[in-house]
Amino acid sequence: MKKLITIIMALALVAAVAIGMVACNKDGDAEIKQLNMNGVKTDLTVGTENAGSPIAISAIKVGLITLHDENSTYDKNFIDAFKAATAELGIPSSNVIIKSGVDETDACYETAVDLVDQGCNLIFADSFGHESFMLQAAQEFPNVQFCHATGTKAHTAGVQNYHNAFASIYEGRYLAGVAAGMKLNEMIQAGTITANQALMGYVGAWPYAEVKSGYTSFYLGAKSVCPTVKMQVKFTNSWYDEAAESETASYLISNGCKLISQHADSYGAPSACEQAGVPNVSYNGSTEASCPNTFIVSSRINWAPYYTYAINCVVAGKKIAADWCGTIATGSVELTAFGATATAAGTAQKVEEVMAKLQATDSTKINVFDASTFTVGGKTLEEYVADVDDMGDFVPETNVIIDGVFYESIGRSAPYFDINIDGITLL
């Protein structure tokens, strides 16, 4: 027995040494980089740089890895776009492989290897957590192209066959926010609520930049038409948890939220809104069919343009951009049709007007993250250092506010706006 205790003590000591090694970490360097304004490709033209030999469209084999299946609005959005783009390009359906329900674990690597094994030339993955495993597979198979949506590492990884893509969805969410603000204004004018009761609720998945950028742009959109609006945000810590999303939405409603939006992938939040009769701004696609009385509008990323672009690159034997960001102009950022019942009068014209201003190049141009439209701790930001170059150290290094504008999705396609601004309460 004594011997045992000695052994256990010795093991504990080794563990302590191992943990002690944690302590010797490097101190971060203080140098701040300027934002690279041309870091991301934003159009659909196939480049000129060669990468491998051309492949006939009838011979190319493409694979898609998705986190959940079509029951998730997020993954359905990818799967539908993938099917549409490959069908439009004329790729035989036997050469289009979709692997759904692939977790954000080494299962992603294994699936990617399996797709390579089946002869795929080009492999897409759809979830943030897939990234490191896609990168691992890309390094092992340099002759296959790997494209990862929402990732952050491609522009610094230096792996030639690994690519990231996203879209300026913060613009879409801003527009959806305008529609939400119009609805709140309508309620205030009708006298159902006072201007100070204009409180929105937001069901978020995980507390990181992609979600924070999304809800902040949504809030700023609403605030641009309804200046007194406030917002409460609560996270579910899951991308897909129907019960938790539904509960969170109900909780926010009981907190006095008059309108709900979400960035999570099930029908949980919209359905809870429909039940409670609270208007809902959705995401990833219209939920009007199941929520006819409360659905206002939904923003979504249309991935078909990117799929078409990437496949065209491989067919032509050209290099796919390391980092690509779709826009309203490329057809990547879309709003669905407005809900017939819940939408406030005049919303469509107002949204169209704001959309034109977002795309303008003259003095009417507005920026979603204009630093003059929000404060942090009561102060206007003049500089903000964000972790644009994801080296795995979580150390921010790039100033992203230039001349009073926070430039989102410019240094890399994936969002890096992770500031907690005034007016938004995290629960």
């Binding site: 080794v14 191992a18 094994d117």
Partner: protein
């Protein structure tokens, strides 16, 4: 006499005492063949392609070099966990915590890889993660064993709950270490097991080869340990009867704790192999139920380490083949794979019943004799008299045998 037969059921079950090894294997083999047939028929309903079932199952496991290596690696890990369970189960210590004991080993390996990174030489990092993982596995085995030995707590519940503790520790580590808030610990580039080169077979180096070799060595060691060592004998005696063990002077507490330390250590080792040799990351589902499947593997092989090779192969083959079937025929989610695996094990486990028991159907001759009794007494006269006393006698005899067997146990 004759009255008893009126109430004789359609069939009755009796314990088999005298089944030969050949007969056992004939029953197992026919169960296997029957299972394949049923699976293929059910698959045909969905695929409309009878041959496709066999083709997919084969190609999913043996189709390409990558799949063959995947098969070997998965087989090695499952076998390693099954080996870890064997001494505990032989001792009748129902350790259903292999999942947690392996996972905690995985966690410690991943922690070492994540925090130490490239700051020290790779062999040293591997050594640290090895000692840490095995130690953590031992600790996870020791805690329930200590409570069992000291206060006779229920080890089944205890080990089961330790699984959840391990899972939540993993979740805690990830939320603590991964500051992006995405809840995913990515691929870790440092602290991998080295690639081994084999001329001809894997000239550029095979990452799973070392794992396979290490587990193969472990199979032999465990076989020798259980079969020929004093410890192995003590484990058997404690398993058969604690009182006998006490009587012949075995320190039962010591054997329980020592065996669980060994069991946990091998589980931790499996976790180390899993993370440093194949997965290079950790998440709460990394072991993926292998800790429970290993119980099945060990039990079906009657705790014979060499037999486990076969049962573990069967499990991995089914999983990999069924997942290929799902992909090839676009049946949708992986549920169908589970259906195939489920049907298979239904037959394989079910056949053990027929090995241990005999089903005696109501003898037609008896019935015929009873009915013909009035019509034709001369013909049935000698038959029932020869048959009648034997049945109840046999039943009584077999009941006695069962009772005797229980006592032995």
């Amino acid at each position: 006499m004759r009255k008893e037969f009126k109430h004789e059921p359609l069939f009755h079950i009796s314990k088999r005492m005298d089944i030969s090894t050949a007969q056992k294997w004939i029953i197992r083999l026919s169960a296997g063949i029957l299972a394949v047939l049923v699976c293929s028929l059910i698959a045909t309903i969905f695929t409309h392609n009878f041959g496709g079932f066999f083709k997919s199952m084969g190609s999913g496991t043996f189709g390409t070099a990558i799949r063959r290596w995947n098969l070997l690696e998965k087989l090695a890990i499952l076998l390693c966990i099954a080996l870890a369970l064997t001494p505990a189960f032989k001792m009748r210590f129902w350790n259903i915590g292999a999942e947690g004991q392996t996972l905690i080993g995985c966690l410690v390996s991943a922690i070492c890889m994540f925090y130490i990174r490239g700051s020290i030489a790779n062999p040293l990092l591997l050594l640290i993660s090895f000692v840490g993982s095995v130690g953590a596995g031992m600790l996870w085995g020791f805690i329930p064993a200590f409570f069992k030995a000291k206060w006779n707590t229920n080890e089944t519940l205890f080990t089961l709950m330790m699984n959840y503790v391990a899972m939540y520790l993993v979740t805690f580590f990830i939320s603590f270490a991964v500051r992006s808030g995405s809840g995913v610990l990515g691929y870790q580039p440092f602290g991998h097991l080295p690639l081994l080169q084999i001329p001809g077979l894997a000239p550029t180096g095979q990452k799973f080869l070392l794992t396979v070799i290490l587990v193969a060595v472990l199979v032999v060691l465990m076989y020798v340990y259980l079969r020929f060592s004093k410890h192995g004998y003590e484990i058997s005696v404690v398993g058969e009867s604690v009182n006998t063990a006490r009587y012949i002077g075995i320190n039962v507490r010591k054997v329980i704790i020592r065996t669980m330390l060994l069991s946990g250590a091998i589980c931790g080792f499996a976790g180390w192999l899993l993370v440093t040799g194949a997965r290079f990351t950790v998440n709460k589902d990394l072991v993926g139920g292998d800790g429970f499947t290993a119980i099945l593997v060990a039990w079906l092989a009657h705790f014979n380490p060499l037999g486990m090779l076969l049962t573990a192969f069967l499990v991995v083959f089914l999983k990999q083949g069924a997942s290929q079937l799902v992909t090839d025929f676009k049946i949708g989610k992986d549920y169908f794979g589970d259906v195939i695996t489920g049907i298979f094990f239904f037959f394989i486990i079910g056949c053990e019943f027929f090995i241990n028991y005999r089903i005696n159907f109501k003898k037609r001759t008896v019935k015929a004799a009873a009915s013909s009794d009035t019509e034709n007494p001369s013909e049935g006269a000698d038959e029932p008299s020869a048959e009648a006393p034997t049945l109840p006698e046999a039943e009584a005899a077999s009941e006695e045998a069962v009772a005797a067997n229980r006592e032995v146990e």
